[in-house]
């Protein structure tokens, strides 16, 4: 007979199935509101500057990296006793070896600071989506307000639970008639100079206080711009005027048409770098977050577990790829293309 029918595996399988069935029947969770831009937290703003939940996550990731790094180097010892210093030295050694293989000892020494800063920051920012409570604790507001501001058209009923309010899994969908009514009411409130607030909310949506920082395109594009511009600065510093040759080859060599074409391609590829760096990171982490939402929505226990493992891996991989590409761009910028370089 098959192995599944022996007592232990059988009990295990039945247990898993029971948990899945129980969670399907009794523990249904609402699907969180999925919005592409970072969501402004209601009631939290400095003047006109609305604080978004991804901004809060960025600050938290910064603090985590800074505090860990300071703790690691606070009392440096030749033979480290603190575990944190040990871990940091281990990480440093691994990646120093890797960068030395790619760019040589001198360049690895020069840029490993940038590399590790980006790696650690992105690790903290990416893995934040895995922490329970990050996307589920926040401000509950009426779906009407969310519709008027962000176009959200699905809300949930709420229930009181001890001191808190929670969303239930009972969905409320706004009909086209509701939408028209909301728009009319909002216009009336605005013409009267008031902030729009519905008297009898149909449903509620939740805006989390914290949402993983890299699920906001602003952060990834900002980081990609910084990296690419920085690579040009490094190129000019190390090669001087020679660096400009790669974009304007015909000035140096005789082959005009081909070289103009090469120069244009080099120029376009700089923009392609920005787009590919930022969209790869953003797309992976945002898609991972949506995946976790949907899996928890389908079956709230056990099923999301393997996907957490997957996201753990993907989060590390994306942080590593971003950092290693940064190093490769820096390294490429210091190669002179004209062929008269001397190493």
């Amino acid at each position: 007979m098959s192995k599944l029918l022996r007592p232990k595996p059988l009990a295990f399988t039945v247990g898993i199935l029971a948990v899945i069935v129980i969670s399907l029947v009794f523990f249904r969770v609402p699907l969180p509101t999925i919005l592409l831009p970072g969501e402004a937290i209601p009631g939290l703003a400095i003047g006109k500057f609305k604080i978004t939940n991804t901004f809060v996550a960025t600050i938290i990731a910064d603090i985590v990296v800074l505090v860990l790094s300071f703790l690691a180097v606070r009392q440096m010892q030749d033979v480290p006793e603190s575990k944190l210093q040990n871990i940091f030295e281990w990480v440093y050694e691994i990646f120093e070896g890797m960068l030395t293989d790619i760019g040589g000892k001198e360049k690895a020494r020069a840029w490993i600071g940038v590399f590790l800063t980006i790696l650690l920051f992105l690790l903290a920012a990416n893995w934040m989506e895995l922490i329970p409570g990050i996307d589920s604790i926040g401000v509950i507001e009426p779906v009407e307000v969310a519709y008027a501001e962000k176009g959200v058209n699905v809300g949930y009923e709420i229930q009181h639970f001890w001191l808190f309010e929670t969303l239930t899994n009972k969905q409320v969908k706004l009909t086209p008639a509701d939408m028209e009514e909301i728009e009319k009411e909002k216009e009336e409130a605005e013409s009267a100079g008031e902030v729009y607030h519905p008297h009898n909310p149909r449903g509620y949506v939740l805006t989390p206080y914290v949402r993983a920082a890299t699920t906001d395109l602003n952060l990834t594009i900002g980081l990609a711009l910084l990296v690419v511009i920085w690579s040009h600065v490094i190129g000019f510093r190390r090669l001087g005027g020679k660096y400009a040759r790669r974009f304007a080859m015909p000035v140096i060599t005789g082959m005009k048409l081909v070289d103009i074409f090469v120069g244009v391609l080099e120029f376009i590829s700089e923009f392609a770098k920005i787009i590919s760096l930022s969209f790869r990171l953003f797309g992976n982490i945002f898609a991972g977050q949506v995946l976790l939402f949907v899996m928890a929505f389908l079956v709230s226990f056990l099923l999301p577990l393997p996907f957490f493992g997957l996201e753990l891996f993907a989060g590390f991989m994306q942080a590593f790829v971003f950092a290693i590409l940064t190093f490769i761009y820096f390294e490429q910028a210091t190669h002179s293309h004209a062929g008269d370089e001397h190493h």
Partner: protein, 77 residues
Amino acid sequence: MVEILSPGLAIGLGAIGPGIGIGLLVMGALQAMGRNPEVAGEIRTNMILGIVFAESIAIYALVVALLLLFVGAPGLK
């Protein structure tokens, strides 16, 4: 109709190429590992890096699909 179909087509068509690419990539890596098991670790690292780069093409399609789904294209609604 179009607003439902377009994100589906964007990710569906966009995933074909990377799917084939990742398949070829892993095939090559596994063959190399089979022929030369001593450097399996190194090949595996590079294989995973390659997979991530091939996968990122599908991620671009996914981003376009998500944009269409949650933001919408001008003139589509």
